[in-house]
Symmetry: C2
């Protein structure tokens, strides 16, 4: 078979092959093939396995020598707030001085301050700032990412954010999966009239969002921030049910700061994912496991906030919940674009084994955004989204931290990023 | 004045200028000059200040446009175990499964497993593995670094590690400050004969180490790992006093896992630094502050181990202790080469303000290894070790995490590293 590209000399080839989401002990199976190779044609994987087998069947125009290193699927980031303007570094300093996230929000900071900045930014600026984040995500190995709206909070502003996602999805190598998060916060125009804002979301925003599916090249998900100070479980149920009636997939921010019932709403409605889940109990885990709702855990957020309580991942795994990992990239609680950093955090703060964290950051993350038929593992027919690491042991992704072990990023069969550092020789004062 | 290089258009120029180590409120003063510039001649800073002032006095052959971004001194990493072979990723997995650092050490793992790997490695291999770490440190903005021995634990093996430091210091852009840590662990040959090993360190190793100062181009520091399972305070005192008599500067690993008195030994002997200090109390802080011992705090280590107790930095600062930050890069507890990651950790786990963490990672870190006359701030006469960040707000170093904000690294007036990512345009399956 003639192929376009052969990636060979893969010391550890992680296929992540699996019939469905990885659950329980299967999380530890990264499908390790020693001395592996991948053959790629027209952007898709056509052969994958031991180098001997692959070479027997394929002859390639171009080869990439992985030099005995780890080769694995690109990361899938299933939860991030990509599109915003400005930052909230001031609030970060206030929090270090002792202010809580809720106190800052009560003062008009928090999400609403990013809403003001995002509404005020020009479309070009918004796209440029978000594109820079995508560039950094790509450099850290993310090849498919969710992208939420939620800093608009009015019909035209939310549609503008969706339009930014269209523009970024068209032009950036990372594939974007859009999520409408109109119910991210109660906007200033609706203070003490939350129900009326929910009406607006349900009656006007959701149909308009659904109608953008052609430009988006996908039916967007609908998400709700269900928590103290945001939307309650009844409001979340109303919004997400309406979204389902329109044919949208649903997700929910549940039990991040307080346990307000979002996880049960996710189970009741059969959401694709329930995210955060820090304040959950065994009843919640059983409910999520029974329906197969993916739990998207976001350890960057408690870390970003300097908190010490993380989602009870080990208990959830033991209860049969399927877990994924995401960055939660956002300007308020977690300005982190790096999935490897999330893996290193997850291993230490939630006791995930390196293999578990990698499964959660690839295949299960793809399931969390409905893209597991296309990405998340290296299997025949899937997109050739492949990373070559600067390491010969995949566990280094968890064990080592603070650097970038992603050396080369291949998206749809083409190399789109390579992290290089130009080093000059030693110089000494006076030697000029 | 004719100069070799002008770095201009520095949106935030952080000079860190200070007469001595930064203590108390001074830690928050990063010497911020808006619209700044630096003029460099023969690898040293000759002018620094507002761009208008600098331009009035200097005409440059070469200019670097900082594009309105943050420009600051290169990081100084005052505590790391650079020179080792192999890794300890297996132990990392065991720890995630519940084993403690002390349990792993008791089974023959821990430091002694790195001693075996380091002794077995060829000199070329040892240098190559360490050089790769230096390359990654440089990419993260470290321009001066301590480098400890301590995985040899015999006279010839420790001297071989010093020789590796000589070789790396000669050839790598990062300036190395050598530290002899022969008392890192009790070697297998001396189990239950710790005092005899201390005799060996004092009588044979220290004089031989001192005699290497010409090749090292520096008088090495002497350090001792004073803790439960390592050396006790009396042994540490004996070794460090002997080192002082030979003219070596002294340092100590103190109160990392258990409070065994190392901090008081540091104060008693007037050590240059006492490092870790997690299990210290107010009496310890008063003793360190009274003598001006630099406290080198290493938050990467509890993080690396998945522990939740960090050094009480705020209390130490309030008690007048001068603090620095280091990576503690080592294969067992903290495989982290990145000073920016340590700043992001320090702000969240020890509540350091971004400015405090930056002072601790530059000027105070230089004091911690006796190099503040040469590096750690951007002042006339000091080496031109300068970073240009991919950010216009220095607080981003703490606020954002998981990426690399260091865009360009200038060492001794020459650009030695630049972090670049090659991005290809969007491609789609079928579009080939």
């Amino acid at each position: 078979m003639k192929v376009d590209l052969l990636i060979h000399n893969c010391g550890q080839l992680l296929t992540l092959a699996s019939a469905g989401p990885k659950i329980g002990p299967a999380l530890r199976d990264v499908g390790l093939v020693p001395h592996g190779a991948i053959a790629i044609r027209e952007g898709r994987i056509v052969l994958v396995g031991s180098e001997a087998e692959v070479r027997q069947q394929a002859s390639a125009q171009v080869e990439i020598d992985a030099q005995g290193r780890v080769v694995m699927p690109g990361f899938v980031d299933p939860h991030n707030h990509l599109v915003f303007a400005g930052d909230r570094v001031e609030e970060f300093e206030q929090r270090l001085g002792g202010a809580s996230y809720q106190e800052i929000a009560a003062r008009g900071g928090g999400i609403l301050s990013s809403v003001r900045a995002t509404r005020a930014a020009s479309f070009q600026d918004l796209v440029a700032q978000s594109r820079a984040r995508l560039d950094r995500m790509l450099a850290q190995g993310t090849t498919t990412a969710e992208a939420k709206t939620g800093y608009g909070l009015s019909l035209p502003d939310e549609l503008r954010l969706l339009q930014a996602i269209v523009e970024l999805g068209r032009s950036h190598p990372i594939d974007l999966v859009p999520t409408f998060l109109g119910a991210h916060a109660i906007p200033p125009e609706y203070v003490a009239q939350a129900e009326e804002y929910v009406d607006l979301v349900v009656e006007e925003m959701l149909p308009a969002v659904r109608d953008r599916r052609r430009e988006l090249n996908a039916t967007p998900f609908c998400d709700v921030f269900c928590d103290e100070g945001a939307f309650n479980a009844a409001q979340a149920r109303r919004i997400l049910s309406a979204a389902q009636r329109l044919g949208l997939g649903i997700k929910i921010h549940a039990e991040e700061f307080a346990r307000t019932g979002g996880a049960r709403v996710a189970a009741e409605l059969g959401a694709t994912s329930a995210d955060h889940l820090i304040q959950t109990d065994s009843g919640d885990w059983a409910a999520l496991a029974a329906v197969g709702v993916m739990a998207v855990l976001l350890p960057g957020t408690p870390f970003g906030l300097g908190l010490s309580k993380y989602a009870p991942a080990r208990e959830m795994i033991a209860a049969g919940v399927s877990i994924a990992l995401g960055t939660d990239l956002n300007p308020g609680t977690c300005y982190c674009e790096s999935m490897p950093t999330i893996i290193a955090l997850a291993s230490r703060t939630m006791r995930l084994a390196p293999a578990e964290a990698i499964s959660a950051a690839t295949l299960n993350a793809a399931h969390a955004i409905g893209r597991a038929h296309e990405v998340g593992s290296l299997e025949v027919g899937k997109r050739a989204d492949v990373l070559v690491l600067d390491s010969d042991d995949y566990r280094d992704l968890a064990y080592r931290f603070g650097g970038n072990l992603v050396a080369r990023v291949i998206k749809d069969g083409r190399e789109v990023a390579s992290n290089s550092v130009v080093l000059a020789a030693k110089v000494r004062p006076g030697a000029h």
